[in-house]
Symmetry: D2
Subunit: 486 residues, 4 copies
């Protein structure tokens, strides 16, 4: 096989259902028909279908080095700038399908796995079998077009427990046993976005500090989502309902976040990538340049999202007839500035790419790290702009059924905008409401704020990644030195 269709995507999830709990109960029927999942799965199915669509196939796939069959382009290890550009176009194409509202579109994890596997060399020195596992797993996912989620964040209590010795039994997720079949994992991970609707789950914890040589807290592995001993506990669903008029975003893009419980789950040895070596675990992200590779995918997502916000804002301005106010134009201009900034940073990352020691063409780190600092600050302002443009329009939102009621003509009349009848005006405002006011929109805001860590973390990544500082310090020192000569 190779790239899968949307039907196949859905078939697999429905055939090998993970253990998913929502509002206290376990889901038994097909996930693809459950209100909390069907919209998202349908959106992703359409994205997978594009891979088989002649109009897009060339843009979205490349021939498998194993079979020659088309496989997903986001699995491609970029070795040239051309590869990198092809990857970017692929990711932009998908981003235009979800307008940036999917934080975990499949290309995100495909890219992550590619980055890890490409850097398997750093594991190989000490653990050739684990490196082989990782590479084999990457090939497996690429050839089977596996949909993947990942976890690495542990509940706060794990850290607190260590800090405060609250509890007798350690709560940090750990290896509780090793046997001939594999390693046994106990514990929990936070915020596995789309965890319930993926084929597999990749686990690589930020390791808890531990003095022991063979740390029970240092590991990386992957298992099927339906693996015994693995459970997904859903947060409340933010799907507003089925109507795409009423819920244009959540009816399509709501990605469930889950708490993943490992209840002494057995991970077979051939799925183990790191085991016990804490130093290796610590270097996992950095050696693979995860943040840089993934950074490209995120840029594509964020640009599409910013364009979508800009388009929405412009329509609100047009429909509201408010572009004569300087403060309105100023707010739209802020969005334009944001977009130009992102576009330019992406261009710069690509333009100044260079080959890394694993043979990958690596985008320039700094513009991407800069974007990672910038976007979480800008996004809440984008939300604010939509709220300010919307005003009472994003509060007073009747729904589709109101326009199918006896009051229709009055609503059409009183709620109309410039060149837009009441129903279409409200349609636009409901979109603005879902973006900026609804629970779906609120979760997106918090998600973007912390996408790649908290502010201190993303700042420090850029702070440390700025290799030119000696040059600029030297320039100022040289300048100062001349002061004595005059």
């Amino acid at each position: 096989m190779a790239v899968k269709s949307g039907t196949e995507y859905i078939r697999r999830i429905d055939s090998y259902p993970p253990d998913v709990r929502i509002t206290g109960g376990q889901i038994h029927g097909p996930l693809s028909e459950h209100p909390a999942f069907k919209g998202l799965m349908s959106t992703q199915a359409a994205m997978y279908d594009m891979q088989l669509d002649p109009a897009f196939r060339r843009k979205l796939t490349y021939p498998s080095p194993l079979t020659g069959d088309p496989v997903g382009l986001s699995f491609l290890q970029p070795k040239t700038k051309k590869d990198m550009a092809a990857r970017r176009k692929m990711m932009q194409t998908w981003a235009l399908q979800h307008h940036g509202f999917l934080g975990r579109a499949p290309d995100y994890m495909n890219t992550a796995l590619m980055a890890f596997a490409a850097a398997a060399g750093f594991i190989e020195e000490k653990y050739p079998e684990y490196a082989a596992n990782l590479r084999r797993y990457y090939e497996y996912c690429r050839e089977q077009d596996i949909t993947l989620s990942h976890v690495f964040v542990q509940p706060k209590t794990a850290h607190l427990a260590v800090l405060l010795s609250l509890i007798e039994e350690p709560t940090a997720t750990r290896i509780v046993d090793k046997n001939k079949d594999g390693i046994v994992i106990r514990g929990a991970f936070l915020l596995d976005t789309q965890g319930a609707t993926c084929d597999e789950i990749l686990v690589y914890p930020a390791p808890v500090m531990c003095e022991e040589e063979d740390s029970p807290y240092a590991f990386a592995f992957a298992v099927p989502s339906s693996h015994p001993g693995v459970r997904f506990v859903c947060r409340e669903s933010f799907v507003g309902g089925d109507s795409a008029y009423d819920y244009p975003l959540s009816s399509r893009f709501e990605e469930m976040d889950t708490l993943v419980l490992f209840e002494d789950a057995l991970v077979p040895w051939d799925r183990v990538f790191i085991c016990g070596d804490q130093k290796l675990a610590v270097r996992f992200f950095e050696e693979s340049d995860f943040h840089t590779h993934a950074g490209m995918q995120i840029m594509c997502k964020n640009m599409a999202k910013t364009e979508f916000f800009l388009g929405t804002a412009e329509l609100m301005v047009e429909t509201g007839g408010i572009d004569r106010y300087p403060q309105v134009r100023e707010m739209v201009t802020e969005l334009i500035l944001a977009l130009e900034t992102l576009k330019s940073l992406l261009l710069a990352a690509e333009r100044n790419a260079s080959r890394d020691r694993w043979g990958s063409m690596l985008p320039d780190r700094k513009p991407l790290l800069a974007a990672n600092v910038y976007y979480p600050k800008m996004y809440p302002r984008m939300i604010e702009i939509i709220q300010l443009l919307g005003a009472s329009g994003v509060i007073m939102i009747p729904g589709e059924q109101d326009f199918h009621s006896p009051l229709e003509s009055q609503l059409q009349r009183y709620l109309q905008g410039v060149d837009r009848n009441g129903k279409d005006h409200v349609r636009l405002l409901r979109l603005a409401w879902e973006m900026s006011v609804s629970a779906f929109g609120g979760r997106q805001t918090v998600y973007e704020r912390f996408f790649f860590g908290n502010a201190a973390q993303v700042n420090d990544r850029l702070y440390k990644g700025c290799g030119d500082r000696e040059e600029y310090k030297k320039r100022v020192n040289d300048f100062l030195r001349t002061s004595d000569l005059r």
Copy 2:
């Protein structure tokens, strides 16, 4: 009679049901049992009950000048500072019941009506009968403890229509006929908060500019909410559900906003307060010092809300064990600063009150107008602080039923906080989520942003209300003048 009980509040609404439409259909059963309204009505019922509770009666009522029976203290025209302080304590007492989440607690409209009636003198000169109507109506509401909503904002299209001549028939709400029984009103109003759950509705439009002497757009009146020809169209309900664990705020405080349609509704003459006189209509707010009187009530609400945010933030910090981070302490300090600012502005408004020409003790305008500029800027930052303190905790929110499931012990374990088990920790986080991320919270943010108008309007109110500017200009001029003397 006099002050009513909660039971009576509910009985009246259920007995004289207004025509309320929600998701396209008309509500037929008792509103007090409808999921969208029962929480709010129950909260307000409890507030009304306090008026009869010996523990609170003295604080919440005063003897009717007509009958001596206790009537609601927020109806009292304050003639002394003592009256004003009594009113403030009354409003604070109720605010502690809803923690500022009700924008239209009954004391808001009681205060508004009191302000209008006290200033009826400005109508009296030209229209003694309308002035008498207004005073009589005030007495009626006070004696019957009427629950009141109000409208004055028209759909944008009304203004656009005038500006752009879009439509043949005018869309601005207007008097389409006058006859011996009263005036006939056609049109719509936006955002009648709690419109569906009040006894009566008070209407006083910001008049559309009109050259005619006898303007069809200039009027003020009141009718029962169940009046023929009056309909309320609800926005989507933001009640998350019945569970106070899952939805601690929306299950109690969700105030429905409605679009009010007047379909040639006949307003009897004795309920007409302004009719046709545009100049009078324009001066309605200013002459009655509506923003100042209502400003006191809003301050009480906003202080209670800020205290509630501060308490929540402190609990999040404590439970998260994060007070060792300077940036965390800084954010909490911002909330403390906000609270001290509001408390001090309220104190100043009261301290420097003076009697106005209607005999009312009027709080000092400037601190209240200043607070009206300040709070809509601060509130979104308060929301942001809760989001930043919450991080993934305000995304990953399982619900009450999850804690009644077989997974309880694991959730209790993995989701615990400092000194708080998993269930209580999630309880706190769900509160934070409802405040800052949910649709309920999002609507509150937009509502606060525009509570008393957009930024330009509240700015100008303060800008124009600053009577000391000549003093400060003179001081600088005097200072500059001395420069030649030296």
Copy 3:
């Protein structure tokens, strides 16, 4: 004697000149005639003269408890709210003379010394003789109307030296010897504002951490500024020149900051207040509630300054004819809001004052600590507003002499404003320039940013000073607790 006149103030400084170095040389003539000092000294002389002026005497003085002669009111330990109000009016009266541009008007240090002496009891328990010294010193200053400066900040290098063990000899200021006559001090202090133009200097370092029981770094004392072994090294002077037209602020209000060197200066025993007891030294500020007492003086200063900025901004708007722009009105409104906030916080501090354990009427801490957080954030925005209102007008500043040149009539013509000829318009703009663009203005901005410490320090002072947090936490906990009951 008692309160001194301006002449006496100048006579003393000129008669007992401290060792002052500026631009590498020692000043030999009278300080009061030196360009860097004469403007400031003349301003302060005028302030002292007011104490003897019948029009102000009553407002500015009170009868000495020792002699009955009038002494400066800022020395008064407030025991009642009336005392406190009298002190405030005194401070406001002086603040209107310097419009808040003096950070170290004499009432600042008078207040500080009063606070320390009133709290001498906390020293008395272990060191009755030091406590007596402190009280005697306070009386001396009060009766002689001593002009005082103070230091407590050490050069960074002192801390770095300890941290990094950079240097063999310790650089932190310390007691290098004790003998029968007193203690011998070696080291330096930063930023003694007005150090050169005061009679005496009060020293109380934030103690360097030190394990020893009898710490050489823990001390407090006072000596005359002209004391042997004490030198003042000036920073560059920011007096622009003599012309009050060209330099309306710096020609009057430029307070020199100095680096103070103690070169084995002998401090006589009767001027020693703390010696060797580090714990005592640490508690010095807190026990005396220095920040609260001084906070009142600072509020008076900051309010006067804000009023002056508001007046200036309003004149700029008027003269520029720009009040039709909403963004201009918004900026002025920000200044009005700032002023209302400060006024209200001061009112609240005074209103909720209470007696402390030393018998002093202590203003409520929280509004003052809140103001200390607020003002350093607001002040730079005030500067920004003046710059934005001024635009090219605060760049293109000809001077007084240009208006006395042959080009006068053209300058009068081309530089005029609304209702203001060219010369008067430029006079206003030069004021705005000195406030917001000049070196004098720049130093004021940095000074205000760090007036009471850096942001983390002032935040934490409020954070820790918020005694109500348990109340608000309880309120939220109670609210949450009810969720199970429904």
Copy 4:
């Protein structure tokens, strides 16, 4: 001839001295020796010398199309991307000489003139002789390496006069006569930066609104700075002094701003480019794409400046030993983000350049317009960061002479930093002071805020320049349209 040397630059200014007034008097000796001008002129002379330096000649010049001799590369009309890149490198090379502190380095006006001349075609249609004048003037400046300043802003009073009819004689600059020799100009212009130290002045007013067909307010021309009837009135000089230790910036980079008076100055016909045609005058900037061409030069300047700020900040952090504070790292990271943003926007502008109708390779407008919106907001924050990193260090600034005094060893000791003795530490802090606190620094801040107009103007330039809005609106509309299909 061709490119000139520094000596020649100085010789010309000194030989043909303009009429310059400062502090009321006329300057009579050579400008190059006057304290207010010598630093700047020496800096620019060194820049001109580079053109003749074999190490730089190739980078800074190109062969004159007329003579083949090397002429300044900033005069080159770019016809290819290679040309554009060559221009950019030229401008970056000079920017590294002044680190962005010169707003009017010669390449700025060379670029402006090139842009105008390249677009002379838009004048040619109606006024072939004026177009020829403009092209000839461009050649003259290029071949003679003329140093040019320009004016277009009129005193506010000009606009006010029209608005308010304040004055009988119009104050807006205008043509008061035309005769066979040329046109006679009366009036004033604001803010001719470097006006006094340039060979020539180019005048093109933003035309005052005027109904007349042949408007006296519409003109463009150039004359020598020493032309009869032209006078330059200087603002106060911000050169702190000669010492490069004390005043590392103002001793080299202080660009005087002048008010230019035209006292019935006769402009010969061959120097007239526009005369009377208001519509043409209005289109002058837009047709020539002045803001885009100049935008490239500004980007080079702003990047160099940002790098210099970053280097300075990094040295302050290093010397102060403060990089362990997260808020310190965050502030430095803001500077890194600013730099990455500028670099990327410049790259994008160049990458997406295209040929315009005049045959010029025109950089992509949007990234440059975006940068024009961004930088004036960012620059004040950069200043703030330097102030916050500097704290008392940018207040307590002794000078060079203090380190040549008997106190040297104490200052060396007490004022040292990490790895930096006292004198070098203070050298760095004085740089930081001049950047962020001094009058020189203050003027730079205001200058950057308004470099290309006020915020509303630069916003609108981007707002209107965003050609993609239809695309994004369409995308959202398409998205919304699908909601009915499901």
